[in-house]
Symmetry: C2
Subunit: 223 residues, 2 copies
């Protein structure tokens, strides 16, 4: 039973760093989103679509979390966005200390919105706050409509749930009504967006919500 | 730095239990497969297709690992297969002790093949041997062709790599040639299968391989 206190200490140390990250983001007026999903749900594609839709409205910066590789950071950098790649070297989630290091390398004063793409994992990221203002869970029609039941922790915590790959609806058995009911029963406060990063359908509702969240943050910081 | 020895002890204790599981499976002549994938890749669908294809040839039993719910065990039980559901209660992988408990509830003497569906996670299950004979990684066309680069540990360890959702090929950008080259470069010893659990295409090559692996196990156990 000796491991339990150690884990508590690690989580508590993480929460302190997360609080510091949050204060740093607040000082810069940057809204931070922790974007979490299973591998291949389309986190990077959502970031690129979001940047495109918010061009001229919000200045976006990105942190890319991966076990290995810089495939995603290269895609984001090619779109002209400031990006920092974190490789966890096998680790299954980002933590607040990793984000702290990344924040030091981003031009926060020239940003309005930070999207942190967490490691592709529907389980472990639930336990580690980074200092984000919003927790967003991305899933896709290809993963099936039962994911909230099977991976409840992330869905229960989410401020928003985004369902990607609407363009594949005709070829899959995903029951959108069933999914909505599951989410409504588990987490009625989460905003729900259904969209396609491939064809852009539904993206505007999501980016409008993000824009409003940034406005609300500014109002809280400068009452 | 005090956590490192603790982790080593946990892993070593796990390996001892894994060894005991392996011996128990060997005594019963049961080939055990540890099936790992991201959430929603189609592990349960692959199990159901495999059972269908091997009917009359191999008697299959199943262990379903999930964070929560028994959605998958219900599907498998409805197909008439012996199945035990393990709920990890938030845990991100199965371990050998969990499998030990499950083995005690399965009719091993009436089985030839055990498929253990691990928790949907492309990262953490890589570190925990269960006592399996074969490690199989399942991915799908919907997840994109870069997964071996981003989640190398599981792909490097795999005895077989199965790519599901071939039926969606026309609607996705998955480059099968690129994926094959990545896998070949990383793990040239892994068997590679491309199939569709939806329409059955390619399933026979996979089940023929499984059947041969069971024959090879029997030959090793009874030389």
């Amino acid at each position: 039973m000796r491991t339990i206190p150690v884990i508590q200490e690690i989580l508590s140390a993480n929460d302190e760093l997360a609080q510091e990250n949050r204060e740093r983001l607040n000082r810069a007026g940057v809204l931070a989103v922790n974007l979490m999903s299973a591998p291949g749900a389309g986190k990077t594609s959502l970031i690129l679509r979001t940047a495109q839709a918010l061009r001229g409205q919000l200045r976006l910066g990105v942190v890319e979390g991966d076990v290995a590789s810089q495939v995603d950071a290269d895609r984001v950098a090619a779109a002209g966005l400031p990006v920092v790649q974190i490789n966890t070297g096998g680790g299954c989630h980002l933590d607040a200390n990793m984000l702290r290091a990344a924040l030091g390398r981003l031009p926060l004063e020239q940003m309005d919105l930070l999207i942190v793409e967490n490691v592709g994992n529907l389980i472990c990221p639930a336990s580690f706050r980074l200092g984000e203002h919003l927790r967003v869970v991305l899933t896709s029609l290809a993963e099936g409509d039962d994911k909230p039941q099977k991976y409840p922790d992330l869905f229960l915590q989410a401020d928003a749930i985004v369902v990607n790959k609407l363009d594949l609806e005709a070829y899959l058995d995903f029951d959108r009504q069933r999914f909505r009911k599951l989410v409504q029963a588990m987490n009625p406060h989460a905003a729900l967006f259904e969209l396609s990063c491939r064809n852009g359908e539904g993206v505007e509702a999501w980016t409008t919500w993000l824009y409003q969240q940034r406005q609300a943050l500014l109002a809280r910081l400068n009452p």
